[in-house]
């Protein structure tokens, strides 16, 4: 949201977000408007509330093309329908004149993805794109995102709480806790040799479909922290099984880990391996 300039009015973003040479955080609204929906697109979690309810699906799609590509009405309509067909929407001409509420959740999310792809973006930010969908529809949408990425070569930032979705789609992973990145790495490395105790905890406490065990699940004790009253030192220390004295006072920096990637934890890699 910060990168897209879509923060709530009381949110302030500092630092730098460079996209194709421009710093998005200091860009003017008009510059942002030329980028957003064009080379930088977004897919939101809930397609019902992120599509305009009183506008036909077709108009919402052609609007993007007319504005960013300067297409005429007829050309925009043809391209929009072609895109609906590409995201495997059956009977695209009929859907084109429908309102969002007339479509199922899966079709609405396909419309969102079609909208994001219209201008051939270089980056798509997908925020929990399948969380609101049933598993069989989720599998279809993830296939579609994968296909779109492989066909167009666009980059994707996929935001999700579902480790299975990450395992299927991502090349690299950043694990966040309390507003900070605590670990980054190549996807197989993250799942096979997680280095941060939080990553290890998340993987261990997720029930798996292919796991026949019925013993008690491993848990992460305690609650996610209150962001207004973060604990001093490492924000994860009250829930961490390996907590040491300095974790309570100093915050570990995100540094290269011996097995590759980065981690923000005082434990050395060897110690972690012995403990797990």
């Amino acid at each position: 949201m910060a990168a897209m300039g879509l923060l709530a009015p009381n949110g302030r973003a500092t630092g730098e977000v460079r996209f194709a040479g421009a710093n998005l955080l200091t860009a003017r609204e008009s510059e942002l408007n030329a980028i957003r929906g064009n080379t930088l697109a977004m897919v939101f979690q809930d397609p019902m509330t992120s599509l305009t309810p009183h506008m036909k699906v077709g108009r919402q799609l052609t609007e993007v093309l007319q504005r960013h590509r300067g297409l005429g009405k007829a050309a925009a309509r043809d391209q929009a329908i072609a895109m609906l067909r590409r995201v495997q929407i059956p009977e695209p001409e009929r859907r084109f004149v429908m309102y969002p509420h007339e479509l199922s959740g899966g079709l609405r999310q396909r419309v969102m993805i079609a909208m994001a792809l219209l201008c051939g973006p270089r980056l798509i930010i997908a925020d929990e794109p399948t969380t609101a969908l049933d598993v069989t529809v989720q599998a279809q949408i993830l296939d579609l995102i994968r296909l779109a990425r492989d066909e167009t070569g666009t980059s994707i930032i996929l935001i999700t709480h579902d480790l299975g979705v990450v395992a299927g789609l991502a090349d690299r992973v950043a694990v966040m806790y309390a507003g900070r990145i605590v670990e980054t790495g190549e996807v197989r490395r993250i799942f096979k040799t997680p280095q941060h105790p939080y990553t290890q905890g998340l993987l261990a406490c997720t029930p798996r479909l292919d796991d026949a065990a019925t013993a008690a699940l491993r848990t992460i004790p305690g609650q996610p922290p209150n962001l207004q009253r973060l604990p001093p030192g490492c924000a994860y220390h009250p829930r961490c099984p390996y907590v040491m004295d300095r974790c309570r006072t100093n915050r570990p920096a995100l540094l290269p880990a011996a097995v590759g990637g980065m981690k923000a934890c005082f434990l050395d890699d060897l110690h972690l391996k012995a403990a797990s």
């Binding site: 296939d143 479909l209 699940l217």
Partner: protein, 327 residues
């Protein structure tokens, strides 16, 4: 042999939905639950899975007598439940409790945690003195992992996970025989989910409860259930004990569901076959003829449109409704 705790026979719950008419409204029945039968033994957990709109929650509510069934029977310890007999129904409700999905919305915001947990005791045990009730509430709070000192706090002062613990304490304080859990962990953070699942499994063992565990999450259901029922558009597709269902699912819909669940392992997740179902759930107002799953089924043939497949016993304790389960 003693009768099972719960016997459900050919249960149907239909809702009339207005579909037209000017002077006289036309109604079409929405068949939320359409001919479901099963037994539930004491101390058993039956998982009920399926996509949204498949009738999972309606089934749970009908079993609890919160919704009147259109037809069919729900027998409790061998005797039919008579919906008209309010006193008998109230006595029975003592033994059947429910845990809802949304932990905050299912707690009265104007009642303290202590009052919420004590309410069932006050209803069913008016003879108990206040100190007795307070002692039992404190003990129950400890059992679900809440500090008894939080007795006087209001729901909004608790986190989602803690609110769900309050809901669980409220359901368990009368030591019921049956608890219907309707998506009890779906609204919770990943790290909190495992805590609540462990709590439910512990309580089930300690109190020898039967549970109906309704969830769309097949991994959670595998972990917690003894047997699992797969529902699609109000009809039972497959019912089997947990290991049979997950090791050798017979129904194409069960297989589709299993393939669709992402596995948190990059090598396995990328090696598995891609999605096998197509399209979305058909409208429950006009379900397909014959087998309701045929419009999304990779194995569908002419017979699937002509006749609804009967439930067949394909192995000990495994029932499947599919014309093509052998292939």
């Amino acid at each position: 042999m003693s009768p099972p705790l719960l016997q459900v026979r050919d249960l149907r719950v239909h809702f009339p939905v207005r579909t037209g008419g000017v002077l006289f409204a036309d109604y079409t029945p929405l068949k939320a639950v359409d001919g479901v039968s099963f037994d539930l033994a004491a101390g058993e957990t039956l998982g009920i899975v399926g996509e949204s709109g498949c009738g999972k929650s309606t089934l749970g509510r009908a079993v609890l007598q919160l919704l009147p069934p259109t037809s069919g029977a729900v027998a409790w310890l061998g005797t039919d439940v008579d919906l008209a007999d309010k006193a008998a129904l109230k006595a029975r409700r003592r033994d059947m409790q429910v845990v809802f999905q949304d932990p905050l919305a299912s707690l009265d915001p104007r009642m303290t945690a202590g009052a919420i947990i004590a309410e069932p005791l006050r209803n069913y045990h008016p003879e108990l003195s206040s100190p007795d009730i307070k002692a039992r509430v404190a003990r129950m709070m400890e059992q679900v992992g809440l500090l008894p000192a939080m007795l006087n706090r209001y729901p909004h002062e608790f986190s989602g996970g803690q609110c769900q613990r309050i809901g669980i304490a409220r359901a368990m304080i009368l030591k019921p025989k049956l608890v219907v859990c309707d998506e009890p962990v779906s609204a919770l953070d990943v790290s909190i989910r495992a805590q609540v699942i462990n709590l439910l499994m512990d309580l089930q063992r300690e109190l020898q409860l039967s549970m109906l565990f309704i969830s769309h999450d097949l991994a959670v259901v595998r972990h917690i259930s003894h047997r699992v029922m797969v529902l699609y558009l109000g009809k039972m597709m497959e019912l089997a004990d947990r290991d049979s269902l997950y090791r050798a699912p017979r129904h194409p819909y069960t297989r589709a569901l299993m393939t669709a669940v992402p596995i948190p392992d990059p090598d396995q997740e990328r090696a598995k076959p891609r999605a096998v179902t197509f399209g979305d759930l058909p409208s429950p107002l006009s379900p397909p003829s014959g087998c309701v799953f045929r419009t999304r089924c990779p194995k569908a043939t002419a017979i699937c449109a002509a006749a609804a497949p009967p439930l067949e016993a394909v192995a000990a304790g495994q029932l499947v409704a599919c014309h093509h389960w052998r292939t």
